[in-house]
């Protein structure tokens, strides 16, 4: 068991981390907004943690606070992400569909280029020697794991709350939702901010996890990867991002013995999953369940 964790601890924690990032895309999607801004906030959160962890200016803080500085980094990353998300979200969410996606891609690029040019972010090399919370990679499950459980619980409650229903109403028909007294702009911005804060906090947790932070963390490629997680996993269920993130992040590593052909197999899985499971994995599983309930009378009790 020890050996197994030594080998795969980093991978398992990565799966949790990627699932969380997929979730950060899921909240805006819940309100029908295709936002690809998550990698931007992820990168921002990582820089916040890396700068607090390494900059001269914060040295007295680090010395006096000890490990408490880590939760403070997460908090700082969350707050900064929320403020930036509000600033960006209010104008950007006036756009719809593909235009919003384009605007958020632009946002990620702008942030990347700024970080590439600033002195404090270390330019292209980035920031290295980020202080460690744990020695073993596996132990980082104690930061990402609880966050995942917390977010799952949050999603579960959100799904059944007034706010969650408002999100879904906007997703199904914004005009009708507006007519029923839901303020679409407010809820859209709220969904965007929730996703941004989550991505920011995950970023802040990831900087020590990856030992280093640089402008390559928040790129357009990452945006597409997160979107794939949600689409393959299923965008209509809180389990979708978890399933998609875990599966897609694990595949290239599980297929490692196949060497060069592993990326081909990886691509094939994506293609087949999107053809045969248009609702994502969570959607397909849901169909199987409703089928068994309807036809065979199993698992009754649920409507």
């Amino acid at each position: 068991m020890d050996d197994f964790l030594q080998n795969n601890g980093f991978l398992i924690v990565t799966l949790v981390q990627q699932s969380l990032l997929a979730m950060s895309l899921y909240y805006p999607l819940m309100a029908g907004q295709l936002s690809l801004a998550s990698p931007g906030f992820y990168a921002l959160g990582g820089y916040v943690a890396a700068i607090i962890g390494t900059a001269e200016y914060f040295a007295p803080w680090r010395d006096s606070l000890g490990w408490v500085v880590f939760p403070l980094e997460w908090l700082a990353a969350g707050i900064i992400s929320a403020v930036l998300a509000l600033l960006v979200g209010i104008p950007a969410l006036r756009l719809r569909g593909i235009y919003l996606a384009l605007a958020t891609i632009a946002f990620v690029e702008i942030l990347r280029v700024i970080c590439l040019n600033l002195e404090i972010t270390g330019g292209a090399i980035g920031i290295f020697g980020v202080p460690q919370l744990f020695d073993s990679r596996w132990n980082y499950i104690w930061t990402f794991g609880p966050l995942l459980i917390l977010m799952l619980f949050f999603s579960y409650r959100l799904d059944r709350s007034r706010v969650g229903r408002a999100f879904k109403a906007i997703r199904e028909d914004e005009l009708a939702a507006d007519a029923m007294g839901i303020n679409p702009t407010r809820y859209k911005v709220l969904a965007f901010v929730i996703g941004a804060v989550l991505a920011g906090v995950v970023g802040a947790m990831s900087a020590p996890f990856l030992n280093t932070w640089n402008a390559r963390q928040g790129t357009f490629d990452a945006s597409i990867a997160y979107l794939a997680y949600v689409l393959i996993g299923g965008s209509r269920s809180m389990w979708g991002p978890l399933l998609g993130g875990t599966l897609l992040a694990a595949l290239p590593e599980i297929l490692r013995p196949l060497k060069d052909s592993r990326l081909i197999i990886n691509g094939l899985v994506l293609v087949f999953a999107s053809i045969y499971m248009p609702q994502g994995i969570a959607g397909a599983l849901g169909n199987i369940r409703s089928f068994t309930v309807r036809k065979l009378g199993f698992g009754g009790g649920e409507k």
Binding site: Q6, L116, G123, I125, G129, R137, L210, N214, R216, R256
Partner: protein, 392 residues
């Protein structure tokens, strides 16, 4: 009954992890470089270098008669991939040491993992400041920019002793070029020359009229350009077209055949400093052997990364021999952890005669290289193709 079987199983499992194990035969050396993603362009050159080294040194007796084998684990282009690759090499493949990763950013991510596991790492292409300082188990055979770049300025002064005023131009939006240009500016000042004008541009620019006008107006004797192939090439072209006649030094961004189509005949004469030359020293037998093998397979001159990765493998092989000499025991009869520790010590002692010339690694793991080279671009009469001619 069943319970006792389980208990024994568990006990053996625990014992399995706790007991020390010996180094496998053939001795595994890990290669963790980028074999996929866009970084693979560089990584593939490294894979080739490693494979040539494996063949060469095993044909020459391996480690005092024991063969070694290279274990390849793809890092991909990102940081997480580099960590996964290193974890696999360290825990699953049980290598004695690792050559990799390709990028400096990946090194900052994965090297601390190896350092904590006490596994020696040699970076074949990590040129950023701070890489050997990651930890006591981290070293490199790739000389940093700050050491390579000044050689081009020295060469220019040798060819044109009258140089007094210098124009320095760099792509401001690219970190590598900004820091490289910083090195050039320091070198110029240290050599008692005057920076007559300092011009910035963007890697996305195509029109350099204002920069060129400033350079021509300053009546400089030397122009130093740090940019990438497209912008740097265009800048050189416009400098020449608008009448600049003096020598031009290019940074590492221009160290690629991709600039030939950009500046065409105007590329001719650009000086670029190199950490490796395939043909500078005909007496270097090991370089000749490596370069011949490469030429036979690929019909072209071996690139720098191939030579540096070959060198990294060579350092491991020779250091392993030294470990056997010190411990007076075969590597394969020794505990893996102890071999890794001793190997790391031996890497940092003595010097190595490699394709890069004579090198050694200091206590920190930084390379000390005796020879650097300068190449001059020589364009063919058709103005489309050309080559790098090494000057000495």
């Amino acid at each position: 009954m069943r319970r006792s079987v389980l208990v024994t199983l568990l006990l053996t499992l625990c014992a399995g992890t706790a007991s020390a194990e010996n180094v496998a035969t053939p001795i595994p050396i890990g290669i963790g470089v980028a074999q996929t993603s866009n970084v693979a362009l560089l990584g593939e050159e490294e894979v080739v270098g490693a494979k040539i080294a494996e063949k060469y040194f095993n044909a020459h007796g391996g480690i005092n008669g024991t063969p070694f084998k290279l274990v390849f684990q793809d890092t991909g282009g990102d940081e997480a991939g580099a960590i996964n690759s290193f974890q696999n090499l360290i825990n699953r493949d049980k290598v004695v040491g690792i050559v990799g990763p390709t990028l400096s950013q990946q090194a900052f991510s994965a090297d601390p993992i190896a350092n904590r596991a006490k596994v020696p790492v040699i970076g074949p292409s990590n040129t950023a400041k701070g890489v050997p300082q990651i930890g006591e188990y981290v070293g490199r055979v790739s000389a940093p920019v700050a050491i390579v770049a000044p050689n081009a300025v020295k060469q220019a002064l040798k060819e044109h002793p009258g140089i007094k005023k210098v124009a320095v131009l760099y792509a401001q939006n690219d970190a590598f070029n900004t820091s490289e240009s910083g090195t050039f500016q320091e070198t110029v000042k240290k050599m008692g020359l005057q920076i007559a004008t300092l011009q910035k541009f963007q890697t996305t620019d195509t029109d350099f009229t204002s920069q060129v006008t400033a350079v021509l107006g300053a009546h400089v004797d030397l122009a130093i350009v740090s940019g990438l192939s497209a912008d740097g090439g265009n800048l050189v072209k416009q400098l020449r077209q608008l009448g600049y006649k003096g020598p031009i030094i290019g940074g590492n961004g221009l160290n690629t055949v991709n600039i030939f189509p950009v500046c065409g005949q105007y590329c001719d004469g650009i000086l670029i400093a190199q950490a490796y030359s395939p043909s500078a020293d005909p007496k270097n037998a090991i370089n000749a052997a490596m370069a011949d093998d490469y030429r036979a397979k690929y019909k072209k001159e071996p690139p720098q990364f191939t030579a540096q990765t070959f060198t990294a493998v060579q350092v491991f092989v020779e250091a392993l021999k030294k470990v056997e000499a010190v411990t007076k025991k075969k590597i394969t009869q020794q505990d893996l952890g102890k071999v890794r520790e001793e190997l790391n010590k031996q890497i940092r002692t003595g010097s190595y005669m490699t394709p890069l010339g004579k090198i050694s690694l200091d206590q920190e793991g930084e390379i000390h290289q005796e020879n650097f080279y300068v190449a001059k671009i020589k364009m063919d009469p058709n103005g489309k193709t050309g080559k790098y001619v090494y000057v000495k």
